[in-house]
Amino acid sequence: MYAPATGKQKPVEQEVITEENVFERPDETIAFFPKQVLYDLFVSTLLLLACCALSYVSPAPLTEPADTATVTYVPRPEWFFFFYEQMLMFFPGYALISFGAVVVPTVFVVLLFAVPWLDRGPRASSTRRPFATVIGVLVVVVVLLNMLMAVSRIINFPGQ
């Protein structure tokens, strides 16, 4: 059954704010229902409308039936693999392919899992923990740049 985390049952007035409990309750709150639910519903409705509209404006693709013997087809990944595919270009040769294709992503995922233990400072604001913020921004920039490079490479290739 649902059990709230400890320390939250005390009324606000009796609470002494310490380093430990400062983030235990926000200054101002709203009830989840109805306002937050309404906001959520609003965004969900927009997304659903967008999906429906796009289904007809740009229908889900279905290319020619599979032909593994083609020599004219250009395989392209989905957009969310662009950055990964582009990254592979920077790791040529036997040793580096396995490094870039598998080892680097694996290490990245492990680091992603470990984020809460790598950054254990008490402050949450990104301006108060510049190191983590810079690393995060760098990751975002590298991913976006790789995506851009992949897009430009795909646009510039002579085509099918």
Binding site: A50, C52, Y56, P59, P75, P116, R120, P122, A124, S126
Partner: protein, 268 residues
């Protein structure tokens, strides 16, 4: 008493009876109150819709995915044809498959934004570490589901993306060949590949995804929405003010070891 108001009070009584009955048997009213009236941070309410948008899109995936199964045939000979039928013959086939396709695309994008928001607002900090870990598991599951779904079309795009994906997997140190043989169901792409990708995309990973979503939501409710540090501005200001005062008093005491404000008040 008029007939309308009589009917109204009877309906209210009936509603109350049903609610009481359910509450007694299943505790539903208490549970709903827990679910609905939890206080959530107010200032960034619109930003926190990213998480619920992810949930909504995954729900759409489950719903439209189940619908597509009514027509889809997982075999090399008929997979493409069945999707062609969905797109051209089935009533609203374009819409159902379109929602599946587009909500998958939005899902990946929204998950990225959700993750960035949690990362940059420090939402993974204690005691919410586990929820971040569960979130990363969910991300990986969604990415693998997206990849395996691509092959099921058995069209040029899907098959060649799978060929390249398998080739990438074959470069894994030590386990590369075994991994892709397991996924392909043999040493080449073929009929077994469709069956396996179908099993993974439709049953294995969604079945794994669902409980992790449950855990994610349970942990969210257990610790409350963190939101962002801006939600705690006043409390932080109070804390700093108190700490400043304490330091000041310690300085005034001039050398006497500091024992805390309240203790000293007792002693005086």
């Amino acid at each position: 008493m008029g007939a309308i108001s009589k009917a109204r009070s009877q309906a209210a009584d009936a509603g109350k009876f049903v609610a009481d009955w359910l509450e007694h048997r299943a505790g539903i009213v208490t549970m709903m109150e827990h679910f609905l009236y939890e206080p959530v941070p107010k200032r960034g309410a619109w930003i926190y819709t990213l998480g619920s948008a992810t949930l909504f899109l995954i729900t759409l995936q489950f719903l439209t995915g189940i619908l597509l199964l009514f027509y889809y045939v997982p075999s090399t000979d008929h997979a493409w044809n069945s999707i062609y039928y969905i797109m051209n013959e089935a009533y609203f086939g374009t819409l159902i498959r379109g929602i599946h396709y587009w909500s998958a695309n939005f899902l990946l994008a929204v998950i990225g934004l959700h993750m960035a928001q949690v990362f940059f607002s420090g939402g993974y900090k204690a005691p919410r570490e586990l929820n971040w870990v569960v979130g990363v598991v969910l991300l990986l599951l969604v990415v693998i589901i997206a990849f395996t779904g691509y092959a099921l079309r058995w069209d040029q795009d899907g098959v060649w993306a799978t060929v390249v994906g398998m080739k990438i997997g074959s470069y894994s140190p030590f386990v590369g060949a075994y991994t892709i043989q397991f996924l392909m169901g043999g040493d080449t792409i073929g009929p077994a590949t469709v069956s396996r990708f179908f099993a993974i995309h439709v049953w294995l990973l969604p079945a794994a995804l669902a409980p992790f979503i449950g855990i994610h939501l349970y942990l969210l409710r257990r610790h409350g929405v963190f939101g962002d540090e801006m939600e705690y501005r006043e409390r932080l200001a109070k804390l700093q003010e108190r700490q400043r005062l304490e330091e000041y008093e310690q300085y005034e005491d001039d050398g006497e070891p500091y024992v805390g404000r309240r203790d000293r008040a007792d002693r005086d």
